[in-house]
C-alpha cells in the first residue's frame, strides 16, 4: 500500500445561497493517494468543523458512480480529468504532489446554485414527469417472455438507460443543453416495443418542457458525450431529433396535448 502523502492547494467555490455572489477560497490539504476525491473533501470538512467553521457543501450519496448525486467541475472538467467516471470514483492517485485543483459547481442557467457546490437539478425530473415513462398499470402485465426483444435492441436500450441523471452533459455544454439527457430517456423507451404506443407523444411533450426550463440548444460540439460518466452516445440525440420531426409530421392528434 502506498504511504506517500500528496500536498495540494484547493481553490473551492464558496457561495452562501442562490442570491449571493460566490468566490473561490483557498485551502491546503494533505491526502493519501489511495483516498477518493470526495474523501479528500470529507477530510477537509472534518478539519473545518473541528475549528467550528462551516464545511464546504457538496452532494454525494452512493459513492459508487451510479446514483448521480455527486458532480463537481474539477479543473474545468465536469467529474474531473478521468473519462467515464463520476466525481465519487475519482481517486487522488490521479493527481501529483503540489498540484493546484480548482473545484466548482456544475454551472448552467437551469441548474441554479443552492449553496457552495450544490446545485438544483430538479429541471431534469420535470422533463421526465412530462411523459418520460411507459404507461403500464400494475396488475395487467403479460408474461415477461411474451415480448421477445432482440438482444441488440435490448442492449442499445440499456446503453441509453444507463444515464445516471447527474447533469454533467449540461455542465459540459457551452449552450447548457440537456439534449443528451433527454435523448437518452427517449431512446431507452422508444427503442423498446413496449414504448411504441407513446413514442411520438413522449418526445413532443418532453422537448416542450425541456425548452421551457431554459436548457439551451444542441450545436453538435459533443462535449456532453466526452464528459458523460456513462459514455452515453450523441447518436441518441440524432435519434431523438428524427423522432421529434416525425412527431411534428404526425401532429394532428398531438395539438391537443
Amino acid at each position: 500500500m502506498e504511504t506517500k502523502i500528496l500536498k495540494l492547494k484547493l481553490k473551492i467555490w464558496r457561495q452562501k445561497n442562490a442570491n449571493s455572489v460566490g468566490s473561490f477560497v483557498d485551502y491546503d490539504v494533505s491526502v493519501s493517494p489511495d483516498a477518493s476525491f470526495l474523501e479528500m473533501l470529507d477530510e477537509l470538512n472534518n478539519k473545518l468543523e473541528s475549528q467550528g467553521l462551516e464545511p464546504v457543501v457538496f452532494e454525494s450519496d452512493c459513492r459508487e458512480g451510479i446514483c448521480g448525486t455527486c458532480g463537481l467541475v474539477i479543473n474545468g472538467q465536469p467529474h474531473g480529468p478521468i473519462p467515464r467516471i463520476a466525481t465519487c470514483q475519482l481517486h487522488m492517485r490521479n493527481f501529483k504532489d503540489g498540484d493546484t485543483i480548482w473545484i466548482e459547481p456544475f454551472r448552467a442557467k437551469a441548474f441554479p446554485v443552492i449553496k457552495d457546490l450544490m446545485v438544483d437539478r430538479s429541471g431534469f425530473d420535470k422533463i421526465l414527469q412530462a411523459g418520460g415513462y411507459i404507461s403500464a398499470n400494475v396488475g395487467g402485465a403479460q408474461d415477461a417472455n411474451m415480448i421477445p426483444i432482440p438482444k441488440d435492441v435490448a442492449s442499445e436500450a440499456f446503453d441509453a438507460a444507463a444515464c445516471i441523471g447527474c447533469g454533467a452533459c449540461v455542465a459540459a455544454c457551452k449552450n447548457a443543453s440537456a439534449m443528451l439527457f433527454v435523448s437518452a430517456k427517449i431512446s431507452h423507451l422508444g427503442l423498446l416495443p413496449q414504448g411504441q404506443p407513446e413514442r411520438y407523444r413522449r418526445v413532443d411533450r418532453m422537448i416542450k418542457v425541456m425548452d421551457e426550463l431554459g436548457f439551451g440548444s444542441c450545436t453538435n460540439t459533443y462535449a456532453c458525450e466526452a464528459e458523460c460518466p456513462k459514455g452515453i452516445s450523441v447518436k441518441f440525440i440524432a435519434r431523438m431529433n428524427r423522432d421529434y420531426i416525425a412527431a411534428k409530421l404526425k401532429s394532428k392528434t398531438l395539438e391537443q396535448v
Binding site: T69, S122, D125, L128, V138, A141, A144, H188
Partner: protein, 636 residues
C-alpha cells in the same frame, strides 16, 4: 399491553394470500381520492408503493431527502432480482424459492410472508418488463438468468451489473407518471424527523426542508415508511452516505416495535479498507462468485504476490468446506469463512482480505465472455484500486451491507401502530436472520407493487381513520420537539466532529456487534455506546445554523439515532443466546465452527418496545414452521 398479532391467514400456505386478498375490505374507486397517504422514501419499495397507490386513485404525498427520487440507494444494487419463473427449466418453482428463502434466513422468518414473496416474484418481472426495464436477454429475445448465492437454480434476472438502477428507473418512471397525472405529489429534499401519533394511530409526519431549514408538518390517513436499512450504524458500510435509520427509529420511539435489530448482513464481497480517511465501503456484486473463485494462501503471513502463489499452495476454502454450493455459499457463511481464514493469518499479505480470482474462468470462457458478464464491475474495481482484475485477482473482504431487522409488521405490512405501514428493508419480515442475494430488490417491489395496494384499502375500510388538521396540538408538540433538538445540537459547540464520534461508534459496533459476537463483548459495547451517547450530547460540534442547508446538522441528527439503535442491537444480540444467520455468537457453535441454532428457545421474532430512559421491553412472536421443517442449515 401490546399484543403481537401476525394476522397470518389460515389455510394451506399456497392459498393464504389468495384467500386473504378476497377477505380484505375494499374502498370504492370514487372514494379513494378522499384518502391521503404519506409515503416516505423513493427507493424500490417507496417508489413502487407511491406509483401503485396513485394508480388506484389515492391522494399520495411522497417524501425523499434526495434532490431526485431516482437517487435512492436501491439504485446501487448490482447483481439482480430473483423470481420463480423457471424459464431455465432447471427445477425452480414458487415452492423452491420459498424453501430456499426460509432456509437461507436460517428459520427466523415468517413462513407465510416468505411464501407470498415467492408467489408474486414472477409478476414483478412481468411488471418491470412492461415498464421498459431492459433486462439481459438471449439471442432469441427471451430473458436471461444467472445464479446467486444460496440457490442451486438460475432464477436471477439482471440488467448488466446495474439491475437496481434499471428497476428503480422503472419504478420512479411509474411514479413520475402518477405525478404527471396528479395523484402523487413529490416533496424532494425533505427529511422525515418524526412521526405524529394521535390516539394510537399514525396521522402524519414532521419533516425538515433541507434547503430552507423549515420544519414542516404533513397529515394523512395513513403513513408508509420505505426508508431502507441501518447498516450505516457501522459508519463504514456499503450503504450510501445518507442512508439512515431516523424515520424508523423515531417511529420506534413513538411506539412502533423494532424487530430483530441484531440481524445484520455482512456481505462477503466488498473492497477492503484502504485507510483511516475511508468514507464508505464498496460492494462488488455477488454475481462475481458465479465465475470467480475465492481463495487464500495455505501458508500464514504469505507475502508473495497472488500470481506467484502456485496452485497447490492455494486454499479454495469455500469449495473445500462447502462442496455443493462452493463459491456460491450464502452470504453469512461466506463472510464468516473469510473472517476465519484471515484471523488465522492467511489473508492477503497476512491482512484482512481474500482473493476473488477469475483466472480459471477467463481460461475456460475467454476474456470476452467475462467482459460481457462483469465488464462494468471490473472497471469499477480498477478505478478504485488501480489493479486490473483480468490480470491480478481481486482482493475482497466482508462489510456491513443489509439489515434484516427493522420495524415489526404483521402480514399486512402494518406495524403495531395502526396506520403505520413499513415496506422493504425498513421492515423485518421476509429474510429472517440472513437474506439471500437478489432478494432485496424482489422484496422492495413485492411490497410496493403487489402487497400494500391490497392491505392499505383494508386498513382504510376497517379502521375508517380521519384526517387530522396539522394545527392539532399533537402536530405542534412534535414540531416543537424537533425544533428543540435542532437548537440543542447547534448550541453544544463542543470539541468533537460528528464523523469523529460516528467513526468511534462504528468501531465499537464492528468489533463487538459485527461478524462474531460474545457475551463479554456485547456487555462492553452496551456500556461504551451509552458513554459515547453522553459524550455526544456534551462534546459534539455542529457549526452553522438551522435556517439553510446544513449537512453537518443532518448527519448529527442521524447519529443521535445510531447511538440509540446501536445499543438496542447489542441488547438484542445479547438476548439471543444462539447463532443463526448473520448473528453469530461465539459461545454457540459446533466443533467445526458452524452456527448452532437453538430452535427450542429462540424460534421467535424479538420485537422491542421502547420505554422511558432507554429501557426496552421484549415482546415475542413465536415462529411456527409448518412447511419447511427447521434443520441444521447445511451447504456442504
Amino acid at each position: 399491553m401490546i399484543k403481537l398479532e401476525s394476522k397470518v391467514p389460515s389455510g394451506n400456505i399456497s392459498e393464504k394470500w389468495t384467500n386473504h386478498k378476497f377477505n380484505l375490505k375494499l374502498i370504492n374507486p370514487a372514494n379513494k381520492r378522499k384518502y391521503t397517504i404519506i409515503v416516505v422514501g423513493t427507493g424500490l419499495a417507496g417508489a413502487s408503493a407511491s406509483a401503485t397507490l396513485g394508480e388506484l386513485g389515492y391522494n399520495v404525498l411522497t417524501f425523499t431527502f434526495h434532490d431526485s427520487a431516482r437517487r435512492a440507494h436501491s439504485i446501487a444494487a448490482q447483481g439482480g432480482i430473483n423470481a420463480a419463473k423457471n424459464y431455465q427449466n432447471d427445477g425452480d418453482s414458487v415452492y423452491r424459492l420459498f424453501y430456499d428463502t426460509v432456509k437461507g434466513g436460517d428459520f427466523r422468518a415468517r413462513e407465510a410472508n416468505v411464501y407470498r414473496l415467492a408467489e408474486v416474484s414472477g409478476n414483478i418481472i412481468d411488471q418491470c418488463v412492461s415498464q421498459g426495464v431492459p433486462f439481459a436477454r438471449e439471442y432469441g429475445g427471451l430473458l436471461d438468468n444467472r445464479s446467486f448465492g444460496g440457490a442451486q437454480v438460475s432464477r436471477t434476472f439482471y440488467a448488466r451489473g446495474q439491475t437496481g438502477q434499471q428497476l428503480l428507473i422503472g419504478a420512479v418512471a411509474s411514479m413520475n407518471r402518477q405525478i404527471d397525472l396528479g395523484t402523487v405529489k413529490l416533496f424532494t429534499r425533505r427529511e422525515m424527523l418524526d412521526l405524529v401519533v394521535i390516539d394510537g394511530q399514525a396521522k402524519g409526519i414532521v419533516v425538515r426542508n433541507l434547503v430552507t431549514g423549515e420544519i414542516e408538518k404533513y397529515s394523512a390517513h395513513a403513513v408508509v415508511l420505505a426508508t431502507g436499512g441501518y447498516s450505516n450504524v457501522f459508519f463504514l458500510s456499503t450503504n450510501a452516505m445518507n442512508c439512515n435509520t431516523t424515520a424508523i427509529w423515531r417511529s420506534h420511539k413513538r411506539g412502533a416495535l423494532f424487530a430483530n435489530p441484531c440481524f445484520t448482513q455482512i456481505h462477503p464481497t466488498c473492497l477492503p479498507l484502504h485507510g483511516e480517511s475511508q468514507s464508505k465501503l464498496t460492494l462488488m456484486s455477488e454475481s462475481l462468485r458465479n465465475d470467480g473463485r475465492v481463495w487464500v494462501s495455505k501458508i500464514k503471513n504469505d507475502m508473495r504476490q497472488p500470481n506467484d502463489i502456485p496452485e497447490e499452495e492455494r486454499d479454495y476454502y469455500l469449495e473445500r468446506k462447502y462442496p455443493s454450493f462452493g463459491n456460491l455459499s450464502p452470504r453469512d457463511i461466506s463472510s464468516r469463512a473469510a473472517k476465519e481464514v484471515c484471523d488465522e493469518g492467511r489473508g492477503v499479505l497476512g491482512g484482512e482480505a481474500v482473493y476473488l480470482d477469475f483466472r480459471d474462468a477467463i481460461k475456460r470462457l475467454g476474456r470476452n465472455v467475462i467482459e460481457e458478464r462483469y465488464g462494468n464491475l471490473f472497471e469499477i474495481y480498477e478505478t478504485i484500486t488501480g489493479d486490473n482484475p483480468y490480470q491480478v485477482p481481486m482482493k475482497i473482504y466482508p462489510a456491513p451491507h443489509y439489515t434484516m431487522g427493522g420495524l415489526w409488521v404483521d402480514y399486512n405490512l402494518m406495524s403495531n401502530l395502526p396506520g403505520l405501514f413499513v415496506l422493504g428493508e425498513a421492515n423485518f419480515s421476509d429474510h429472517g436472520a440472513n437474506r439471500l442475494g437478489a432478494s432485496a430488490l424482489m422484496q422492495g417491489l413485492a411490497d410496493g407493487y403487489f402487497i400494500i395496494p391490497y392491505t392499505m384499502g383494508d386498513y382504510l375500510a376497517s379502521y375508517k381513520p380521519t384526517l387530522v388538521d396539522t394545527s392539532h396540538p399533537e402536530f405542534e408538540k412534535v414540531k416543537n420537539e424537533v425544533q428543540e433538538t435542532t437548537k440543542k445540537l447547534l448550541s453544544i459547540k463542543g470539541k468533537r466532529t460528528v464523523d469523529d464520534i460516528h467513526k468511534q461508534l462504528g468501531r465499537i459496533m464492528w468489533d463487538k456487534v459485527g461478524m462474531a459476537r460474545n457475551e463479554k463483548g456485547l456487555k462492553e459495547a452496551i456500556s461504551q455506546i451509552r458513554n459515547l451517547r453522553e459524550e455526544f450530547w456534551t462534546s459534539v460540534n455542529v457549526p452553522g445554523s438551522g435556517d439553510d442547508v446544513n449537512q453537518t446538522l443532518e448527519r448529527a441528527g442521524r447519529l443521535i439515532d445510531y447511538l440509540e439503535l446501536g445499543e438496542l442491537m447489542a441488547i438484542d444480540a445479547l438476548n439471543r443466546n444462539e447463532s443463526c444467520g448473520g448473528h453469530f455468537r461465539e459461545e454457540y457453535q459446533y466443533e467445526d465452527g458452524e452456527a448452532k441454532r437453538d430452535d427450542e428457545n429462540y424460534s421467535y421474532v424479538a420485537a422491542w418496545e421502547f420505554k422511558e430512559n432507554f429501557n426496552w421491553e421484549l415482546h415475542k412472536e413465536n415462529l411456527v414452521f409448518e412447511y419447511v421443517k427447521p434443520a441444521v442449515r447445511s451447504y456442504k
